[in-house]
């Protein structure tokens, strides 16, 4: 009896509590149900959500779609597109929404993807954002030209924005309006220009020497680097219409990036260094600190979401993408392959970075999921790609 009791005891337990952690990650399948005339929208939506590396969209008629936990149902109504996320096990609606049906199918898909992604992950969608970059091209008489291109966040719809017969480099997006700032090689100087989405170009700053790479904060601050014809580039701060010089040293200070609140400025400088290193400048106390172990580094980019600074650093002769955490004061290397990286920019949601890399004769625009350190190629071409810059989510950019 006692022996029997010994063996029966485990069977008597009615409730079991267990706690576990995830050891693997996978894309979550979502079945997509959409009417036949909207196939272009469906494909754009599929491309958007699959690009996040979090979800796989399966068309409802696919055999695997039945086992997907969610079904995304898109139904057109008058001037709007309604979507519903349905729990396939419990057969009830988990989330729903509607978007205006104006614009091209890709734009409609971006709008739906924005809302669906927010419902699924709780993060603001970035599918209406654009990535600007610089592409090297051959002009007449073998001259090297550089043009500014923009592309959707999912790598589709590449189009030229600035194609003047000169060198246009270092595009930077305004953080609140769909304006792209860039530097144009003019006869006398390198001037700072901006262009709207209708390709209208304007001069932003025309000091002597080199004017480039403006940084914007949400409270309206603008910082840019300019040499003003004095040799070394210094940082200038524009607020309330007043221009103020931030750095006064013998080094070249460039590539500024502001934190979301505008309190901290990160930039590159070769002041008292053999190569460019990252510096941190407190806008309130005016205290300047060099970030250790960041020499030689370039193109810092501060995320508006979590304040992490992504930058490129030379490691064993190869430029690699790294992330610096200002709170922990720690750096983390994200890439380790032999391709030479140049220029890095955060996504508006703060989960992804985009950077350009040179792999042999092939130049690529690469997107990386930072937490998982998974990367994939958005664009690949023989023309050299450089200076990627990711915009905020502007409705008018994609429309």
């Amino acid at each position: 009896m006692y022996v029997l009791m010994f063996f029966l005891m485990p069977l008597m337990i009615n409730a079991v509590h267990v706690q576990t952690e995830s050891v693997q990650h996978a894309k979550m399948p979502i079945a997509l149900q959409i009417d036949t005339p909207y196939q272009a929208l469906a494909q754009a939506l599929q491309r958007d959500l699959q690009m996040t590396q979090q979800f796989t969209l399966l068309f409802a008629h696919a055999p695997a779609a039945a086992s997907a936990p969610f079904m995304l149902k898109v139904a057109p109504a008058e001037h709007t597109l309604h979507w519903q996320l349905i729990d396939q096990q419990e057969k009830h609606v988990m989330a729903s929404g509607a978007v205006p049906a104006k614009g091209v199918p890709a734009t409609q898909a971006h709008r739906i993807a924005n809302q669906v992604w927010k419902a699924l992950t709780g993060n603001e969608g970035f599918f209406l954002s654009k990535i600007a970059f610089c592409k090297e091209q051959k002009g007449p008489k073998g001259r090297t030209l550089k043009h500014i291109y923009i592309v959707d966040a999912n790598g589709a719809a590449q189009m030229p924005l600035v194609q003047t017969p000169t060198i246009n480099i270092a595009p930077r997006w305004h953080n609140e309006r769909p304006l792209l700032f860039y530097s144009e090689f003019a006869d006398a100087n390198v001037r700072l220009m901006y262009v709207d989405m209708k390709k209208k170009r304007h001069v932003a700053c025309n000091f002597d020497g080199v004017n480039m790479l403006p940084a914007f904060s949400h409270d309206g601050k603008v910082v840019f680097s300019s040499s003003k014809g004095q040799g070394a580039s210094q940082l200038y701060y524009l607020a309330d219409g007043k221009l103020q010089q931030l750095t006064k040293n013998g080094g070249n200070n460039f590539s500024p990036t502001l934190s979301a609140d505008g309190a901290t400025l990160y930039f590159c400088s070769d002041y008292q260094q053999r190569g460019p290193a990252l510096f941190c400048f407190d806008m309130r106390t005016k205290q300047l600190d060099r970030i250790p172990d960041t020499c030689p580094s370039e193109s810092p980019s501060c995320s508006d979401v979590h304040g992490l600074v992504a930058y490129c650093k030379r490691v064993k002769g190869v430029m690699q993408v790294c992330v610096y955490d200002p709170k922990a004061k720690m750096s983390r290397q994200l890439t380790f392959d032999a391709a030479i990286k140049q220029g890095v920019s955060w996504s508006p949601c703060g989960q992804y970075v985009v950077y350009s890399q040179q792999k042999g004769i092939q130049s690529e625009l690469v997107m990386m999921q930072v937490d998982a350190q998974r990367s994939w190629t958005l664009l690949s071409c023989r023309e050299k790609i450089s200076f990627p810059s990711w915009s905020s989510s502007f409705e008018s950019v994609g429309a």
Partner: protein, 255 residues
């Protein structure tokens, strides 16, 4: 009354009565123990699989439960449990039951924890998240001052020598059940990448007597739909072995 009965019949009658009494007494005892034990252990509270992850487990076969310090029960979730593969833990378990360790325990198994009713507070370095029972031989326990000095010297070392954990046979069964369940959860559960690392969802799974899932309910949602659904989908995909049939399993999915 007895006189006119045959002598042999009288003896057999007495024997039968004695046998009956003994059986009845044992049955009563069995029922009492069974009910008491069942009430006490109706719910198997497996706190966390990492409670013994780094420690060698020594089974005391004649002891049901070895009293664990209260802190381990109060805070079942360590701050950052190491992600050790479940198989590793089992291997550790098997390796850590040498005959030498069990032999002294068989002589006086249940008295060991009682011998030290007021255990010394174990130093932080060795104890880590869970506090070890005080059955660790005194020779292996350095003084608190020495351990503090060690901790100061090596603050970042990950793998300090952890004292073995002494468990009773039912505790061992719990650990085995826990390992089986955790392995099954980890086989089936793969949330999407890039979600917040602080997410946690609690799902209650009701399993029928045949092992089929009767109901999956979210007890506490994380607030992130994709995460909650990945946990629920994992529950539907899991296969529960016989010990879990006809039971209610509460699974906490931590990112």
């Amino acid at each position: 009354m007895w006189l006119w009965q045959p002598k042999s019949r009288h003896k057999s009658y007495v024997c039968a009565r004695i046998t009956y009494s003994v059986c009845a007494a044992h049955l009563l005892l069995f029922v009492v123990i069974f009910l008491l034990d069942a009430n006490k252990r109706r719910s198997l509270q497996v706190t966390t699989r990492t409670a013994y992850a780094d420690a060698a487990i020594v089974v005391l076969p004649f002891c049901k439960y070895v009293a664990q310090p209260q802190q381990a029960e109060q805070s079942p979730v360590p701050q950052k449990p190491p992600k050790a593969a479940p198989q590793t833990t089992i291997q550790q378990t098997k390796k850590a039951v040498p005959k030498k360790n069990i032999a002294p325990a068989t002589k006086a198994p249940a008295q060991k924890p009682k011998q030290t009713p007021a255990p010394k507070p174990a130093p932080k370095k060795v104890v880590q998240q869970e506090k070890m029972p005080s059955v660790v031989p005194k020779k292996q326990q350095p003084t608190a001052a020495k351990k503090d000095a060690l901790a100061q010297k090596e603050p970042t070392q990950n793998a300090p020598a952890v004292a073995p954990v002494y468990v009773g046979r039912e505790q061992m069964q719990e650990i085995a059940l826990q390992e089986a369940l955790v392995q099954e959860v980890q086989r089936c559960w793969a949330p999407p990448v890039g979600l917040s690392k602080t997410l946690q969802t609690i799902v209650v799974v009701n399993i029928g007597p045949d092992g089929a899932i009767k109901q999956v309910a979210t007890q506490k949602a994380s607030g992130v739909l994709a995460y909650d659904m990945s946990a629920r989908s994992a529950c539907y995909a899991m296969h529960f072995s016989k010990p879990f049939h006809n039971k209610e399993i509460t699974i906490t999915f931590k990112q």
